[in-house]
Symmetry: C2
Subunit: 669 residues, 2 copies
Amino acid sequence: LPFMDASRMWFVIVLTGIGIGVTGAWLDVLVKWLADFREGHCVHGFFYNQPSCCSGFDAGEICTDWQSWGQYLDIQYILGQSLLHSVVYVALAVVFAGSAAILVQFYAPYAFHTGIPEIKAILGGYVLDAFLSPWTLLIKALGLALAVASGLSLGKEGPLVHVACCMAYLLSGLFKQFRHNEAQKRKLLAAAAAAGVSVAFGSPLGGVLFGLEELDTFANESDVMWRGFVTSVIAAMSLQYIDPFGTAKLVLFQVTSITDTWRAFELVPWLLLAVAGGVLGSLLIKLNVRVALYRRHSALNDWPLLEVVGVSALTAAISYLIVFTRVQTSELVANLFQECDPSKTDYHGLCNPTAMWENVFLLIVTALLKIALTAWTFGMMIPAGIFLPTIAVGASLGRAVGLLTQGLQRAYPGAWVFSSCPPDPTVPCVSPGFYAVIGASAMLAGVTRMTISLVVILFELTGALSHVLPIMISVMTAKWVGDACGKDGIYSVWIAMRKYPWLPPVAYRDKGETAAQVMTPIERLVIIEDGCTLGELDNLTRKYNFHGFPVVRDAELVGYVTRDKLIEFLFAREPATLSTRRCTFSSRRSTAEDNLENLSNLVEEAILQLRKEQPQELVVDMFQKLNLRQILFTHEGRLTGMVTKTDIVALLNLHFPHTAALSELPGRP
Amino acid sequence: LPFMDASRMWFVIVLTGIGIGVTGAWLDVLVKWLADFREGHCVHGFFYNQPSCCSGFDAGEICTDWQSWGQYLDIQYILGQSLLHSVVYVALAVVFAGSAAILVQFYAPYAFHTGIPEIKAILGGYVLDAFLSPWTLLIKALGLALAVASGLSLGKEGPLVHVACCMAYLLSGLFKQFRHNEAQKRKLLAAAAAAGVSVAFGSPLGGVLFGLEELDTFANESDVMWRGFVTSVIAAMSLQYIDPFGTAKLVLFQVTSITDTWRAFELVPWLLLAVAGGVLGSLLIKLNVRVALYRRHSALNDWPLLEVVGVSALTAAISYLIVFTRVQTSELVANLFQECDPSKTDYHGLCNPTAMWENVFLLIVTALLKIALTAWTFGMMIPAGIFLPTIAVGASLGRAVGLLTQGLQRAYPGAWVFSSCPPDPTVPCVSPGFYAVIGASAMLAGVTRMTISLVVILFELTGALSHVLPIMISVMTAKWVGDACGKDGIYSVWIAMRKYPWLPPVAYRDKGETAAQVMTPIERLVIIEDGCTLGELDNLTRKYNFHGFPVVRDAELVGYVTRDKLIEFLFAREPATLSTRRCTFSSRRSTAEDNLENLSNLVEEAILQLRKEQPQELVVDMFQKLNLRQILFTHEGRLTGMVTKTDIVALLNLHFPHTAALSELPGRP
């Protein structure tokens, strides 16, 4: 019944969309509450966060219902108050981060990190069901809220994609149609991943394009793209309906009141920012790899909890000292993106021209600090996304450059470079808030090496077509500079380090090599000879854990048999008979013959066969596009070798020095 | 020098984007001027169109500078004036359409029709350079302006994509890098096609998604997608910069002042519209096929000019009688999308509640008339897009349903279905303008069977996230209903009728068939035997115009040689020697031997070989994803058969009854 199949599919898709929207909203509320708890509490009840506690007051009034911990404990001395506040701030950060780490380490080791590398591998055909278990879903969501609230340098974007995929996996388990069909399941996961991005950024189209560009999922199948779009829109609408911030806005940070036009001279600071984004993005990736390698090969490997506690304490202690880092990262970004508007409160004097140098200095310190902390945090035993900290670094730098440009223009309004500015000095010419957007997009491009999805996500934030061009230029420049400093984005690097079987969708060009250079020749292959004993087969399955084995008769290829099928077959036989009975894989030979077991129905005969003279790039192309697991090579019917997906992955990762450096599974050192 | 290659590529892309934006703007201006010329002229000079002639006047004032033809010739009697107006209206329509047809027929036969089927085929690997010649570019652009101004039932969207591709092709010819690399050229064309849609609808993201969904171009290659996005944005910005309508808006019809919310009961009329869209869309496709077949097999085939003149006269005569069809189609759509607003002029009493029944009747007549006219017009010897007429049909129907719903709600405001409406009767509850949008999206989905790109294009028109859900539902429902009435969209139907080698990106599932069922067995293949005489080769190339021939030695496959290479080789030989000299394709045999020509360097040895037991769906999948031209089948090194792209296209078009019905080239009956 194709109609029932389609209905079930849409049922899962709509439910996943709603589920992710609700989860996203719930996470926001939880994080806000936990984060506010680090500063004080509400006299009406501890379960109110600060805005809902003070909702009855007007903007100008002082909210007395919300008490800081100093007020609550009635400490009179300012020094004592400050001390108490900082101690509570740091202590709760450690408690939150520590609980998240305990949850992850003991209940769901797969809930650590961002999850996007694993999802890329899964969507590429890797089967890793434990990664999508309901337990992982719960721990990742809860741990994420705790980790974000602890003020560590991490974001919720990537983990939210993981949560979305877990949810789709859970819902797909309701129907047999999906349980036993990996391809169908992958299509659902692709749609869910798009919805995760949609909720994380409030950008449904950005979610679809993220799925297309980074997850490489919807290739060649527009119905999958359509499902991803539907899920994204439903998720975004659910989030908007719940409206966790009470602002009727989809996103935490929205760019408001940008000026209509930009001037040509601004391209110079923007290009500088783009170059800085590319360089610093590469630096962040390199630092992150260093830290990951150090963690693996030092005592930290055995004490992940201690590491989380230590880093969160350090992060909280340093963050408390700097005004920009003390608040939640999302709030910082929102303020940096905000243009100066006399009718609104000025966030820490960012709009005060006399405080320019202090602000620039503090912003640059913030950016450098965030780079260092993020490089360490991304990879610890907690759920951690890299998008938001990257945006924060870029926005800080961008705002700093914007302030400098604005200062320059105000100091020399008559200079010829500024001649395109309006002559009236009270009309602002340079918008530092948009510089923060440019900086963020450049930094994101440097770290993730994405292009179109970043532009669309930031376009949906700003909403002005006229400002797409600078964003586009900065993303492209940052990607070029980043690619020159190091070929891979952060997700590809982690995939390579953890050795997931994922093929990057790059166009591979050989230099005249043929498949013969990459294939394992028959001499080094583990093959099954027709006519061997069942005991030999049993040994084979115990000794090697390959996915399967080619079957030959007199060097001529018969087919391919998977290890799972062999084990299943052998399990049903009496152990005593194994060493005497022989097997045949030919359907023509009669089983009536003595001591002959016919295994021909286990064999896949329709396995792809090529000649080893085929060019290497064609072989890579076939693995990339046909989602194959192996190709056998024959010559005049005789097996000459085999190439597996792992060989191709290794071939494409040759340039990266740390491949497989972290290949063991998390939680199992 | 990869850097120089990249620079040239970006140079072409940026220039194409600007070129398309400028062309789009220029076309709009030209069409407006021509169309206004049918009604009157400006006293300051005939080259002003009506808005620029009257630009000095306020909204309320009567513009005396613009004279209708009746005023100009100073005809006093109303009857005489009306007669003159209608005669000029019809006569100029015939003149415009006739000139367009003459241009197309005598100078660029490929400039007829929409062009999208051909572009799909070209992007799928078909080489048809005449279709993209500079001459086609010029005639298509000019003819398009004339055809649109003539008031025929056609739009500029599809032809604009063709124009964009011609422009990219022209610019790519500047560099050797593109001239001799079909794959590189195709990537440029894909980007240009996206930009064409971007300009046609003022929707840069819609352009990218159109490329993804309908043209199936960016699959697996995110850098191509990125280029398409850049081209789209640049084109849209150029258009906005030139601002042909002086409205600072990107699109001709923009949905304004839609209410914030919609009510659940409105889903009932919307679903009705969606079903109607699916049914009428299928009907339009079927009618169009009928007309195309009739045209081919009747006297019309020899008199295309006469057909254009006749249809344009008929269209103009009928259109003049109905108030909604007399104006340009884009203007009609803009007015139908417009919500009623007391501060704006009411377009032909659409907002007048007492005229409801007249309006509903006229709108339905308009929709039916447009369906009939469009079915005939789409395929005549003029440039003609199907998007705009389809939108007009859908918008008319939608507005009619919206008026009816509004009337019902106003008549029974207390009924329980309307309980969600605001109690104050002066506050409008139903927005008929948005019903027109829903109708348009449903009709588009029924005709083109696209999904996500339609939603994005219409989303960029309305801009409200809350209204994406109804558009999504209506598009999906219309597509389902349409698919139930007939499997293919209008572009696929035309591709099949004209027999272009294009593989639909559908997931093909065989019923256990293997490649053996679809391949041409060796007995029926034209093959080259190693050792045949050059005269035999010469005969082969004259007798068959296949792309190439397999080469065998003693039934064993040596390789594949293309016909072009053979012809080139034979051309350089003396005709007299052909019958005596023999050929060898083996590189090992020495050419010193008497009468032996070594052709081994002509042979492609790295041709894809499979066994004929491979499942059919794998073979189809390989053709779809690896962009192959043929696969050879061997068994133990011996050739057993061949499958070409044409075989696979035929296999996938089996269900369509009129395949190849129009397969000859236009202009060459």
